[in-house]
C-alpha cells in the first residue's frame, strides 16, 4: 500500500498536515503521503475550542489569520463537505479599564488591515450577552464575521478532498525515524515500511518535538496540555464566541445548547498526558461562574484534554530549518485550527515556488535565536514573553 518513494512525506494527519496535503495536491505538486500515528484528527485537531477569529493585536497575527478567515468563508464549498462554519461573531471581552484601552488600540490596528471589528462599551456588551456578570464587563472587541466550525468535519473535509486529488493518507502508521545524509533528508522510516523522499514536513502537533529530535533539531517549543469542559445542554444564552482577557478563558454555546469552554491555569507545566486534572476543573468552574453567575447550577458533563506544541511567544513556527535540507516545520500551533486554511495554502506556495509568502515569513524559527519574538497582546494563553499583566 505505501509506495517506496514519495515527493513529500507529511508527518501528522491533523488539520495542519491535511490542509497542506490538500493544497499541494490542488497545485499538482507530485506524489504526497500523509503519515498519522492514530486515526486522522486524533490529536489537538479534534480537541480544540473550534473558535475562529482574526481580531488579534499584532500586525503579524492579524495579517496571517485574516487571510485564513477569508478562506474559511468558502471552505465548505471548496472542499465539498459542510464544515458548519457559523458566523455568530467573536467577542474579546475586557473586564478592566486597562483591558478596554488595549481593545481600543487593537481595533485601530485591526482597522488598518481592513478588519470590520467594533469597539463595544459596557452597555453594548451587556446588551449582546445579558447573562454576563456586569462586574466582569468593561467593554470588548466584536468581530462579526468571526464564529466557529466543527473541528472534526474540517479534518474529514480536508482528508476527503486530498484523497480525491490523489494524496495517500496512512493512519495507524507511526514514524520511527528520519534518515539524513550529508545534511539532506533521504527517507522516513515508519512502523510499516521505509519511504524514500527528499522532503519531510513536521506537522506532528503535540509530538512535533519528538519528530524534530529524529533529525537532531531542537525546537523552541514545548508540549503543553490544555483542558476544556462541556456542560449539559442549556437554553440559548451565549450567541457569539467569547474570549476573556482577564481570566484567560474562551467559550461558546454549541448548537446543541452545551456550554463549551477552556481556560489556562496561571502556571501551566509542560505535559504530554491527555488526562484531566482537578486543578483545571476547579479553575474553569471558578472562572466560568464568575463570568456567568447563572452557570453555577449548570451541570458539568465532561472534561477533556489535548496537547499542543507551544512556543515562548505562542505563535507558530513555519518554514525550513538551517541545518537540514528538506526538513520543513509546520508546528508550534496553539491557534492552529483557525490558522489551518491559510497555513496550508501559504506553506504549499513556499514548497512549490521556494518563495516565502509574506504572511508566514514572520513565523520563521530563527526569530527566537535573534531574540525577536512576536508579541501579541490579545491572546488568552499565558505567554512567557509577556512582560506585564499576563497575556492581557
Amino acid at each position: 500500500m505505501i509506495k517506496s518513494n514519495y515527493d513529500i512525506v507529511i508527518i501528522g494527519g491533523g488539520v495542519q498536515g491535511l490542509a497542506l496535503a490538500y493544497n499541494l495536491a490542488k497545485n499538482k505538486f507530485g506524489s504526497i503521503a500523509v503519515i498519522e500515528k492514530s486515526y486522522i484528527g486524533s490529536g489537538a485537531s479534534s480537541r480544540n475550542g473550534e473558535m475562529l477569529r482574526s481580531a488579534f493585536a499584532s500586525n503579524e497575527w492579524i495579517q496571517f489569520f485574516d487571510k485564513s478567515m477569508q478562506l474559511w468563508e468558502t471552505l465548505s464549498a471548496e472542499l465539498d463537505f459542510n464544515v458548519m462554519f457559523t458566523h455568530c461573531g467573536y467577542l474579546v471581552l475586557a473586564s478592566t479599564s486597562k483591558e478596554f484601552e488595549l481593545c481600543r488600540e487593537n481595533v485601530n490596528t485591526q482597522h488598518s488591515f481592513g478588519l470590520k471589528t467594533k469597539l463595544l462599551n459596557q452597555r453594548d456588551v451587556l446588551k449582546l450577552i445579558p447573562a454576563l456578570n456586569p462586574e466582569m464587563v468593561s467593554g470588548g472587541t466584536l468581530q462579526s464575521n468571526g464564529g466557529f466550525a466543527r473541528h472534526d468535519a474540517v479534518v474529514w473535509a480536508y482528508a476527503g478532498a486530498a484523497k480525491r486529488l490523489g494524496v495517500d493518507i496512512f493512519p495507524y502508521t507511526e514514524v520511527t525515524g528520519i534518515q539524513v545524509e550529508a545534511g539532506t533528508v533521504r527517507s522516513v522510516k515508519t512502523s510499516k515500511s521505509e519511504i524514500s523522499t527528499s522532503l519531510v514536513v513536521n506537522a506532528a502537533g503535540g509530538h512535533a518535538g519528538d519528530v524534530a529530535g529524529m533529525v537532531g533539531v531542537s525546537l523552541p517549543s514545548q508540549t503543553y496540555r490544555l483542558e476544556m469542559i462541556v456542560t449539559e445542554p442549556l437554553k440559548p444564552f451565549l450567541h457569539p464566541m467569547l474570549a476573556s482577557l482577564n481570566t484567560l478563558s474562551y467559550m461558546h454555546q454549541s448548537t446543541r445548547g452545551e456550554f463549551v469552554g477552556g481556560a489556562e491555569t496561571e502556571t501551566l507545566p509542560p505535559a504530554k498526558s491527555l488526562k484531566s486534572t482537578l486543578v483545571a476543573t476547579q479553575d474553569m468552574a471558578r472562572k466560568f461562574t464568575k463570568l456567568f453567575p447563572g452557570l453555577a447550577s449548570a451541570r458539568l458533563m465532561r472534561q477533556w484534554g489535548g496537547i499542543v506544541d507551544m512556543t515562548p511567544d505562542i505563535a507558530p513556527v513555519i518554514g525550513p530549518v538551517k541545518k537540514i535540507e528538506g526538513f520543513i516545520l509546520d508546528c508550534g500551533w496553539v491557534y492552529g485550527f483557525v490558522g489551518a486554511p491559510a497555513a496550508g495554502e501559504l506553506l504549499a506556495q513556499y514548497i512549490m515556488t521556494g518563495k516565502m509568502p509574506p504572511e508566514i515569513q514572520p513565523f520563521n524559527v530563527e526569530r527566537f535565536e535573534k531574540g525577536e519574538p512576536i508579541i501579541d497582546r490579545s491572546l488568552v494563553v499565558p505567554s512567557e514573553t509577556e512582560t506585564e499583566g499576563g497575556a492581557a
Partner: protein
C-alpha cells in the same frame, strides 16, 4: 430503514451507525465524533455496550479487542457551582 435507537441522548439509530462505518468512519473514536454517541448527557452509560456490539459486528473485530473511548470525569454530571469553591467537599471529609 431500521428505527432501532441505540443512543437515547441524540436519537442515533443502528442504521445511522452502520451507514457511518460504511462511509469510512471505522475507528470507534471517529464513530463517536461523527454521530455524537457517548457525547450526550449519559456520556455513554446507556449506549456504550450496544454501540460496541454493533461496531464489532460491522467491522468484523472481536468485541474484546476494542478500545473503549476514555471515560472522562465527572462520573456523573455535577453543578459547576459546587466545583467553583476553594476546597471540595471531599477535602473537608478528610479533616
Amino acid at each position: 430503514m431500521s428505527k432501532k435507537i441505540v443512543c437515547f441522548c441524540h436519537d442515533i439509530t443502528e442504521t445511522d451507525l452502520i451507514n457511518t462505518i460504511e462511509a469510512g468512519y471505522d475507528h470507534i473514536e471517529m464513530l463517536k465524533r461523527f454521530t455524537g454517541v457517548f457525547m450526550g448527557p449519559c456520556q455513554g452509560k446507556m449506549c456504550m455496550q450496544n454501540v460496541l456490539k454493533i461496531f464489532a459486528r460491522e467491522t468484523g473485530q472481536p468485541i474484546e479487542s476494542l478500545r473503549v473511548p476514555t471515560l472522562r470525569p465527572p462520573a456523573e454530571p455535577i453543578p459547576l457551582g459546587s466545583l467553583a469553591t476553594e476546597t471540595l467537599r471531599g477535602d473537608d471529609d478528610k479533616e
